[in-house]
């Protein structure tokens, strides 16, 4: 077995350190440097100007920062703490994230190990199931668990109440633990699993073989060999989860707003959209605090990935599976049960609830109705929202992977100056919550000549959604590209190809499955997102997700649930077949040896995420 070692973590995920060549004095300026400068300026302007606008606005002490003459000072930063919701909201944000992470990380690592490194039954089908779970709209899952666990009227609570000696069901989805649970059931676990499983699967099995030959048990091998090797990708995935958490909104809003529980993102929304007097100043200060919080992630992540060399993938790599023995059936059943809870249960519940006159109330006369479906489908706003969503998701799915792969390629595989800056900008952009990015962009679109004309049209939404997954998308591509051996590009360049030709003819074919992955993530995100576009969307450009959220928050949970089911159908009905087809088409290239030495077997058709 031939083993080509690659220094995987050198650039994996985090900001790229300047290569040795960069430190050489008097390096001549290359064409690529100008390209990188242009990219940095464009991406930086898009991502940082809204941030700067918000930071500047946080120092605007006018009573209404949009109306009154601007006055400058730091009073907002002091005043924000007088809002009794701010402190608890920040603490709540940390608490929810902590518990979601503490629970989801070990569970997900365990599931990923089961799927990738053991002989569990139906591993591919189960892994695909987690894809479905991740694509499953969080809105639909949230509505489903509301219908199940709402105090008193939730289906599960009502069922429990029929048991002897039980007066009322014990569950309350409108609680801290309700939020944690629904976060886990929406994307807390699935997100980890779909990113970690390919990584674990791509790990060189010879390492584990060597461990076992040395007398280690399967469990000990996992703990002492597999996991230590995977520390960097696990951490990076956890960091992505943290970022995703900062961008999270719908679950916390739909549940927390019902019992006055705010995390920072829902409080920002509350301040800007719901409070009788919009409190932009407080909102931008709160956002600035999150910027500081996220700033701590970058050096920490860099420290972890650089503190040690991790050798993982080999050219002639082959996977070896740990036998589960008697636990094989139990493990399969456990994972399958979890998948059913993540997907099928909420779908059925929301589906059934959508035909009830009032979900959870079994004494209505009549009990069943199609009125909610008729109301939704006959609403002209729904038709517009559907078309808008399809347009936004489609464009985002096509453009985002192309753009992010170029960014990742430039960061990881070139020596252009400014790579670290671009990487830093992309990571930093994740700090900006969608809701404030939307607000910052609103102002940016209005004040920038040229962009001003775009306001109120579909274009701002397209731009926002294309860039929305820039951190995750670019880092996913970086994770693949760092495993790409230099010899491939060297061969291309020796043959006279420039970087662009090399990228198109060598890199793209290898990246194709990953591009499909990122395209699907973009599609799903565009179909589901609310926070980043809600201020930019007009009545003419509202999306299904915004419509669903507004209906649900306005008390029309049945109709909100129906739209979430339609979003789910869009995501699963369009995104997954495309992914399957694209993967199938990507296979010949993978098998042709073009991608050697890193991509040589069918096992690696599944994209390496980080």
């Amino acid at each position: 077995m031939t083993v080509d070692t690659i220094d995987t973590p050198v650039h994996a995920g985090g900001p790229t350190p300047p290569p040795t060549e960069d430190r050489k004095p008097k390096r001549r300026i290359r064409k690529g440097d100008f390209i990188m400068a242009a990219v940095v300026i464009v991406v930086g302007a898009y991502l940082l100007i809204p941030t700067l606008i918000l930071l500047v606005m946080s120092l605007n002490t006018a009573p209404n920062i949009l109306i009154d003459p601007w006055q400058w000072g730091t009073a907002n930063w002091a005043r924000v703490w007088s809002d009794p919701r701010v402190g608890p909201a920040l603490w709540n944000s940390v608490s929810v994230w902590f518990w979601v992470s503490v629970i989801s990380l070990p569970v997900s690592v365990g599931i990923a190990l089961l799927l990738s490194r053991t002989n569990i039954y139906l591993s591919r089908a189960l892994e695909f199931g987690f894809w479905v779970a991740y694509i499953f709209p969080s809105l639909a899952a949230t509505y489903g668990w509301i219908d199940l666990l709402a105090p008193e009227w939730g289906f599960l609570n009502r069922a429990m109440a029929t048991l002897p000696g039980v007066e009322s069901g014990p569950f309350n989805v409108y609680s801290f633990w309700g939020i944690v649970f629904v976060r886990l059931m929406t994307d807390g676990i699935a997100f980890f699993v779909i990113l970690l499983t390919p990584i674990f699967r791509n790990m060189d099995g010879s390492l584990e073989e060597a461990a076992r030959i040395s007398g280690m048990s399967g469990l000990r091998t996992s703990l002492r060999v597999t996991l230590p090797i995977m520390v960097a990708p696990i951490f990076i995935v956890a960091a992505l989860q943290l970022i995703k958490f900062f961008q999270g909104f719908e679950v916390e809003y739909l549940l927390g707003s019902q019992f006055g529980y705010y995390v920072y993102s829902t409080l920002i929304y509350q301040m800007v959209y719901v409070d009788p007097d919009p409190q932009y100043a407080n909102a931008v200060v709160l956002a600035s605090i999150t910027l500081i919080a996220i700033a701590a992630i970058i050096p920490l992540q860099r420290w972890i990935v650089h503190r040690k060399q991790y050798t993982t993938v080999a050219s002639a790599y082959r996977a070896s599976l740990i036998p589960l023995g008697r636990l094989r059936r139990l493990s399969t059943a456990s994972v399958a049960t979890l998948l059913i809870m993540l997907t099928i249960v909420p779908t059925l519940v929301v589906g059934v609830g959508s035909f009830m006159v009032r979900v959870g109330f079994f004494t209505t006369k009549p009990l069943w109705t199609t009125d909610h479906w008729r109301n939704v489908l006959s609403d002209p706003v729904f038709v517009k929202a559907l078309l808008t969503t399809l347009l936004l998701a489609g464009v985002s799915a096509v453009v985002s992977p192309i753009l992010f792969s170029l960014f990742a390629y430039a960061i990881v595989r070139t020596r252009w100056r400014g790579r670290a800056v671009l990487d830093g900008i992309i990571w930093t952009s994740a700090a900006l919550p969608g809701i404030l990015l939307g607000f910052g962009l609103l102002i940016m679109f209005l004040v920038t000549p040229g962009l001003k004309l775009l306001f109120g049209t579909i274009w701002p939404l397209i731009i926002v959604l294309i860039f929305a997954g820039i951190t995750t998308g670019t880092n996913v591509f970086k994770g693949v590209l760092v495993q790409l051996h230099d010899s491939l590009e060297e061969a291309a360049r020796v043959s006279g190809a420039g970087w662009l030709r090399t990228y198109l003819r060598v890199v793209i074919p290898i990246l194709r499955p990953t591009m499909v992955l990122v395209g699907m993530l973009s599609f799903v995100h565009a179909a589901n997102t609310t926070a980043s576009i809600i201020l930019l969307a007009s009545r003419e450009t509202t999306t299904l997700s915004i419509m669903s959220l507004q209906l649900g928050a306005g008390g029309r949970v049945e109709e909100g649930g129906i739209i979430s089911l339609i979003i789910m159908a869009l995501s699963l009905g369009l995104a997954l077949p495309v992914r399957l087809i694209a993967n199938r088409r990507g296979l010949p290239n993978d098998q042709s040896g073009v991608a050697a030495p890193t991509v040589t077997t069918e096992e690696q058709r599944v994209p390496t995420a980080v």
Partner: protein, 411 residues
């Protein structure tokens, strides 16, 4: 919503009953438009005096050329009045585009646009909170010069002899166009399974809500955050601080989040609370629950404090409007005899109980008899004092904010 509350005497309830019995009007009791009202939505149904016809025709032509009217409206307003706006669009062949949502959401978007000189909306039909925000931002154009229709300038067709203005200080930007007359100053919703007839009979006055029977059993909308603004102001004017001191301090009231109509209704339905007040924001959901046979109802009997009347419905035109002629045509049409006829005919009355036009020359349309007759009770005089209402509103808002914070009343 700015309004003047005009409490009739205790005898008014009796007179209302008498008037109902003696009413000559053959109005329906429908909760919404049921008759064929398509004939109302034509230009021929809008005759104007000959001397006004050229100006009116010119305005219609300009509005048609613009082709669109952009309305921003509160969710409840839209639920109640969408058929009226549709009728306007059908009458003049104008595409009516309605943007709805929370007041804050609308305020944020429109003000952000205006800051940069973009003007995309025409007419504002929001609650008092959202309207006040726009007023403070000088977002409205003076409306008084736009009111050119003889049906408006000639006040003989109105119960109020002066145009009622929401903006008490300036009296020129936002007018009011509907009257709401309800049985009590506080609308009471209750769980019919939990509240017995004996319980109901024991409530003869709103002060009876302070009885220990109701401790921990009452839910309120989040008045500290601006919910049920009109109702809260009216109640403040009638019941005074002492009532609310006791209600909030001793009765352990529950509160739902701002806009939490489902939480409010479900809380009553599943007996978390037996009774609710300050719930006008949840009226659509309460109606839906009631219509589907669930155990919720509202108290229709008038209590000791008497019935309540309000002038409300904030109507303003943005400065400048995106479609100036369409905006001007809309406000003149809506306040004309024809527009108010359409209002009474097409209003979804269950979404806005007790509301009707306060013109005296329009038919009953879909307005329920009891509401129609309240305004026409012999001896009853509709009045409106914007200054008094504005003062009371400010006092009530400050009080509720402070009291909720002091008692840590949170959803």
């Amino acid at each position: 919503m700015k309004r003047h509350r005009s409490l009739a005497s205790a005898a008014m309830a009796v007179m209302t009953i008498l008037a109902t019995a003696c009413s000559a009007g053959g109005g329906s009791t429908a909760a919404g438009p049921t008759a064929d009202t398509s004939a109302l939505c034509t230009e021929s149904a809008n005759p104007v005096p000959a001397d006004f016809q050229p100006a009116w025709s010119d305005l219609i032509a300009k509005a048609k050329a613009e082709g669109t009217l952009q309305i921003v409206a509160g969710t409840n307003v839209k639920a109640a009045e969408q058929p009226v706006w549709d009728c306007f669009g059908k009458t003049f062949g104008i595409n009516v585009v309605v943007s709805t949502g929370s007041s804050s959401d609308i305020n944020s978007r429109v003000l952000a646009e205006r800051t940069q000189g973009r003007h995309t909306v025409d007419v504002s039909l929001l609650g008092s909170s959202g309207t006040n925000t726009f007023l403070k931002a000088n977002a409205y154009a003076p409306l008084a010069p736009m009111l050119i229709h003889p049906d408006i300038t000639d006040r003989s067709g109105w119960y109020l002899k002066d145009v009622p203005w929401f903006d008490a200080a300036t009296k020129q930007y936002v007018t009011l166009y509907i009257a709401t007359l309800v049985p009590n100053v506080l609308n009471i919703y209750y769980n019919t399974d939990k509240v017995t007839q004996e319980d109901l009979d024991s409530v003869q006055s709103l002060q009876d809500l302070l009885d220990p029977r109701w401790t921990g059993k009452i839910v309120v909308g989040n008045v500290a955050a601006g919910e049920a603004d009109r109702e809260a102001t009216d109640a403040w004017m009638v019941l005074g601080q002492s009532f609310f001191d006791e209600l909030l301090s001793k009765q352990s009231v529950g509160v739902v989040p701002l806009g939490g109509s489902r939480a409010y209704t479900d809380g009553i339905l599943r007996s978390q609370w037996d009774m609710g007040v300050f719930g006008e924001f949840a009226i659509s959901d309460i109606n839906a629950a009631k219509d589907s046979g669930l155990p919720i109802a509202n108290l229709t009997r008038t209590l000791k404090e008497g019935p309540d009347a309000a002038i409300e419905g904030q109507l303003g035109v943005f400065d400048p409007p995106a479609n100036p002629a369409a905006a001007k045509l809309f406000v003149n049409w809506l306040l004309s005899k024809q527009g108010q006829t359409v209002y009474n005919a097409l209003l979804v009355t269950k979404e806005r109980p007790g509301s009707q036009s306060f013109r005296n020359d329009v038919p009953q349309g879909a307005i329920p008899d009891e509401d129609w007759n309240r305004l026409r009770t012999p001896g009853y005089k509709l009045t409106y004092d914007p200054d008094a209402f504005a003062r009371a509103r400010a006092e009530a808002q400050a009080y509720f904010k402070e009291k909720f914070a002091e008692l840590k009343i949170t959803p």
